[in-house]
Amino acid sequence: MSPSLAHTPSELAPSPALQAACEACARIAPVWPLDKSVAVNPWWHWRERPMAEVAAQLGVLGSVRMLMPRDYYRALWPQVISPLALRLAAEECALPLSETALLAALDHKEHWPKWKNLCDWLDEQPEQANKMPWQAEITQQISQSCGLYFSYPEHQAGPLAAPGRFYNFWREMIGQDAGLAILMAAPKLQRFFRRLPHSPADVIDAVYHQLQALTGIDTGAFSAYCQALLLDINGWAAVFARAQEDHPGQAAAGEGLSLSCVGDLLAARLAWEWALLDVIAEDPLKHSLRTRFVDQFSRLPDWQASLQDTLKPLWVWQRALELSLQADFARQLTAPAPQQTPAAPTLQAVFCIDVRSEPMRRALESVAPQIQTLGFAGFFGLPMDYQPYASGPKRPQLPALLKPSLSARPLLAQGQERKRLAPLLSLHRQTHTGQQAAATFGWVEAKGIFDGLRLLAQSFGRGHLANPLSRCDGVTGWQLWRDGAPLSDAAIAELLATVLRHMGLTEGFAPRVLLVAHGSSTANNPLAASLDCGACGGQSGEVNVRVLAYYLNRPTVRTALAARGIRIPDTCRFIACLHNTTTDDLSWFGSEGDVEPEAWHSWLKLAAERARALRAGAFALSATSPLGQQRAFAARSRDWAQLRPERGLANNAAFIVAPRAATVHLNLAGRAFLHDYDWPRDKDFATLELIMTAPMVVTQWINLQYYASTTDNRHYGSGNKLLHNVVGGNLGVFEGNGGDLRIGLPLQSLHDGQQWRHQPVRLSVYLAAPRAAIADIVARHPMLADLINQDWLYVLQWDEASHTIARYYRGQWLPQPTLTAASSAPKEAPCMA
């Protein structure tokens, strides 16, 4: 069987094989480059199917785990997962098993049917023991091709995301690769690859037809096979899925249906399987192998059904864990709130909805009664990118799903830009010289000794390279641009009015309103962006609050705002602040020369101290004094070897959309995203709709990213940070020397060496809004209906007045069961390894 085509591909209509392949490719969720890394729900494109079904399918095809190991649940029994919760969960999952039977199910040796690709079958052969395994070598070969393709765009003669381009690059590479045949002891391999067709679609068609000749498979089975192959190179598939977003037009061009660039990757992987079919065909002893391989296709549906059955008890345990947690939240939310005497605030602080804001807001509110805090998406509603240098690159500062329509540019003092850039560019020239093949010898010899000094400095936390695009010092003002023209004050007022309305801040302005962005500060951390603000596209939100505060303080903008019905008193000033989530410092930017000490300056300091004191325990800091803790956290943030600078969004579990007054007395232990929302003021529920379709989806992505990285770190996590090896500058990381690109969170972000720091539970969204409004919005957005009805997310209505909570599920309102026998409040980290 040679790769010369037995079947000419149908040029007119997309073949069934191509359709099946496209279907598999469309399931891949994108991943963003490291410097713009935002959380992604890896199962986003599976959302129209029930989670348990998807778990069974991916479980068979790639041993994907969407549940924790059995020991995990057993350790939580019966303290965290109460017997009552387990019983209710069993009822809900329609699994009529007793408590003892469910406990016994945790001891069963599970039968996990596994699909095997052709390479896996070959690797199981005894004579393969002294050779390189095919699976590892194939992954390595494709992974290296992908890396080379994306790392050196100057060696490619066109846009990288154009369909067909990667496949042909890969073909060129493998056709030239003399080493593979030596390494794998398969002399005819290279000849096979040299005769591969030029179009990825032809490869897909050819393999499909060959399989059909062998076993008569249908397109559904072929699509599953394609999914299994893509799971083998899961990380790179996600990179291609992201790349094709840059070329959506090309994927849709041509006749009806054509392959996206994920299809290129799939074609390369399929070509390898084709090559192995060829290897097998040469050896009569291995013909039985082929039979066993093709037999799998008919078994696939049974396997999936059987695995789904096997996993059922585990889903009960998972649901019981979530029920227990929801009961804790319900108990807190429905308890009668203590009497509050609403006083006019003298300080308002708007924070991001991020879970790390919750402890900080509590700390700040505890400092003085006249402080009010609010929660709002951290990009503060400005759909902009940031261009720090006049002709330099732009950086998106908004959720990854949106496209920036505005551009923010700083107004810098004369010569400021040069002063800031000169040392950076000089450093870059030196690094670059050291990396040039011809210069590296002499340069290291003459210059290397100075690296000893830099090594010493960096060991003591000095001289680390920071993100050069994040600097905002010396800025005298801002200018927003749209389509290459500066934005007028009227247009700005229009924009800001919308922002303030959605923020719920159109009246009752305190004399000082702090706009608090957040960002992390870490050294030598390739995954730094995953600790920054997800709503700002994985950046610090500093620029957004600076721009917003700048314009809200401008008299001309205020006049224009007043014309739109929002009157900001003259005594009111907006102040841009930054919450450093690594050190828990709250800093403010005293623009336009207000340096007079004011009461709130000391409040912020005190709040920071209290927040740090709360966090010190979790990091086993020995310092007990406020100053000692400040120094310890600061040192941690500058330590270039620190793999756990902060916990990020670990242990997130809930998203509460309600007025802060309703939650202000609660300790939510940093497990909840908080968005301010007051439904009586939301006339046509436009704000609710916005919250449910934007921030709620973002929080759901964050939640399932943490979930997936915890349950299956091999596919959806980036493994051990000690071994991280940055690929292509910012494409992603390898764990160690090579293998597939790793996506998602590293183990160090989820686990502290002793126990899991993230408890994988699906997000519970509590909406303080009328049921009819919620149901109406869900009905209008199929995406929301999928998430809710296929078990990817819980949506619950919280009626503050009647102290009740009800879950909206498959068009019905289900009263939330209360578990009376369980523990009290959600603890700091009630999870055990």
Partner: protein
């Protein structure tokens, strides 16, 4: 006791103390405060090494089978410095990690073995320390023994290391057969000015082979590239420390090597192409740590070439400078994302990655007179005999590359352009002064006499460097030209040199390399195991 007795007692105490410190850390690794202890021990070790270095500047120190000459003392300071910083790095890296004690034990073990190697004068002890370095490092390279690629790399390294040890033992035996002494210093002192006997020639060849094997020269380089499967500080330790042992060996046996043209030519024939190819391959890498590994391979090649050319002071300078450079580069490997930002920023602001021809010509016009002046001055006041011109070529290539980028910066006015030239010249002068100063100082301090100058050797190395410059420039200038693109892809494949070694290793020493472990990783989290 007299003052002299006290001094020699203190010396002995210092020498043995240096070996005792890592031993203490090994013993205390399980203890709760082991990491702070290790950091203090590391700092103390560095102070001690500095003190001994000052003492050894005058005359070699000795105590029993230990002896500390200038080369060893300088290397000891370097190793102690790196050891101290890696202790500090590891302390944060392994915070809360149950693997911490295991790592600490391994690290201190390697440092102990390396210190012993540098201090040993007795050749049997030297050989034992040499083996100990390799074995203790093996433990660290297999820090995560269930990673298949780590195992493959460690197996490759194991085979190569054992061959090197065998050759080293043979060399020692040959030397002993001729001199009857097992003291390293005595053996070197006994080498007269006359011709070497054939066993001595053979011993030199063996030593050259050991150095080539230890420094991972092509085509036996694969293990070095593949051992980035161990934690970052292990890579730093390997690439900035242990890998240099080949060079150290040649420096210690320099009196022998400088009289053995056969061994010199062996080194030149393997290491010069190895260095050039590895440097080119380095520029086609996709991941940060693997790029650094290829860079090490190239730099080691150059160091060996310098030894073969008789430029021992330069080899020592190179060793020290490269260690600092590579240790920092590995430990800061996580900053790659920000470095990429700088590169994009630089390109967007009009500083192209590849300067234009006029910038290259300008840079050449700037650098050549500077180098020529320096060469004339050096020849006038310091050098007596004609020496190799290779260092000037290396320096020239580096300076021209840097200066071309400097001159390619956009300048607002004519004056700004003049300022660019002046600042480039001033920086180069400063850099050259430091470099030549260090080189001269090392040459003065080294007790090694140079062998005769060989024009053929210079031409051989020089032509490789010229090839390097031409290929490197062409690859960047015409990235889409079909032949160059093929060359680029072949370079990315490492010229397909390692595959034979992989296949051979697997055949000699089978190991199961199951690509996916049967139980998913998360059931036994790596962090916990």
């Amino acid at each position: 006791m007299t003052l002299l007795d006290w001094a020699s007692a203190a010396q002995g105490l210092g020498l043995w103390g240096l070996m005792a410190l890592p031993l203490l850390v090994v013993a205390a690794a399980q203890w709760r405060s082991a990491w702070p202890l290790a950091q203090w021990a590391g700092a103390l070790g560095l102070l001690l090494a500095l003190a001994l270095w000052l003492a050894a500047l005058k005359a070699p120190l000795a105590s029993g089978v230990l002896k500390l000459g200038f080369v060893q003392a300088s290397l000891l300071v370097l190793v102690s410095f790196l050891g101290w910083l890696i202790y500090r790095y590891g302390a944060s890296n392994f915070q809360g990690d149950p693997d911490g004690p295991r790592f600490l034990r391994g690290l201190a073990g390697v440092l102990l073995a390396v210190s012993s190697l540098l201090l040993a004068d007795h050749l049997v002890l030297f050989w034992a320390a040499w083996v100990a370095v390799s074995i203790s490092l093996h433990q660290l390279l297999l820090f995560y023994p269930d990673r298949p690629r780590a195992r493959l790399a460690a197996h490759k390294k194991f085979l190569i290391a054992r061959s090197a040890e065998g050759l080293l033992a043979l060399a020692i035996g040959l030397l002993y057969s001729q001199s009857g002494s097992l003291s390293l210093s005595a053996n070197m002192a006994l080498l007269g000015a006359g011709e070497l006997s054939w066993p001595q020639q053979l011993a030199a060849v063996c030593l050259a082979l050991v150095a080539l094997l230890k420094c991972a020269q092509l085509p036996l380089h694969g293990w070095l590239i593949q051992v980035v499967e161990a934690p970052t500080p292990v890579s730093a330790l390997l690439h900035a420390g242990v890998i240099n042992l080949g060079g150290v060996l040649l420096l210690l046996f320099a009196p022998l090597l400088s009289q053995a043209p056969l061994a010199q030519w062996l080194l030149l024939l393997v290491a010069a192409p190895s260095a050039v190819l590895a440097a080119l391959i380095m520029t086609t890498r996709i991941s940060q740590k693997v790029r650094l590994a290829w860079s090490t391979c190239a730099q080691m090649g150059l160091m060996l070439v310098e030894c073969a050319l008789g430029l021992y002071e330069l080899a020592l300078l190179h060793l020290i400078a490269h260690s600092c450079y590579k240790a920092r580069a590995f430990l800061a490997a996580g900053s790659a994302v920000n470095e990429q930002h700088l590169q994009q920023l630089s390109a967007a602001l009009g500083c192209p990655m590849l300067p234009q021809l006029r910038h290259w010509l300008g840079a050449t016009a700037l650098v050549l007179p500077l180098l020529a002046a320096a060469a004339v001055l050096m020849a006038q006041f310091w050098l007596q005999a004609p020496g190799s011109q290779v260092p000037w070529l290396l320096l020239g290539l580096a300076f021209i590359t840097w200066a071309a980028q400097q001159l390619a910066q956009p300048a607002a006015s004519g004056w700004a352009r003049v300022a660019l030239w002046v600042s480039a010249a001033a920086s180069l002068l400063g850099l050259m002064a430091v470099y030549l100063g260090l080189k001269t100082a090392l040459a003065e301090a080294l007790p090694i006499t140079h062998g005769p100058y060989s024009l053929a050797a210079d031409l051989w190395v020089g032509s490789w460097l010229v090839v390097l410059a031409i290929v490197s420039y062409s690859l960047q200038r015409w990235p889409l030209q079909p032949q160059l693109r093929r060359a680029w892809i072949a370079l990315n494949g490492g010229l397909y040199l390692d595959e034979w070694m992989s296949r051979l290793t697997l055949r000699l020493w089978p190991l199961s390399l199951g690509g996916q472990s049967p139980t998913p990783l998360l059931l036994t989290p790596k962090v916990q195991s």
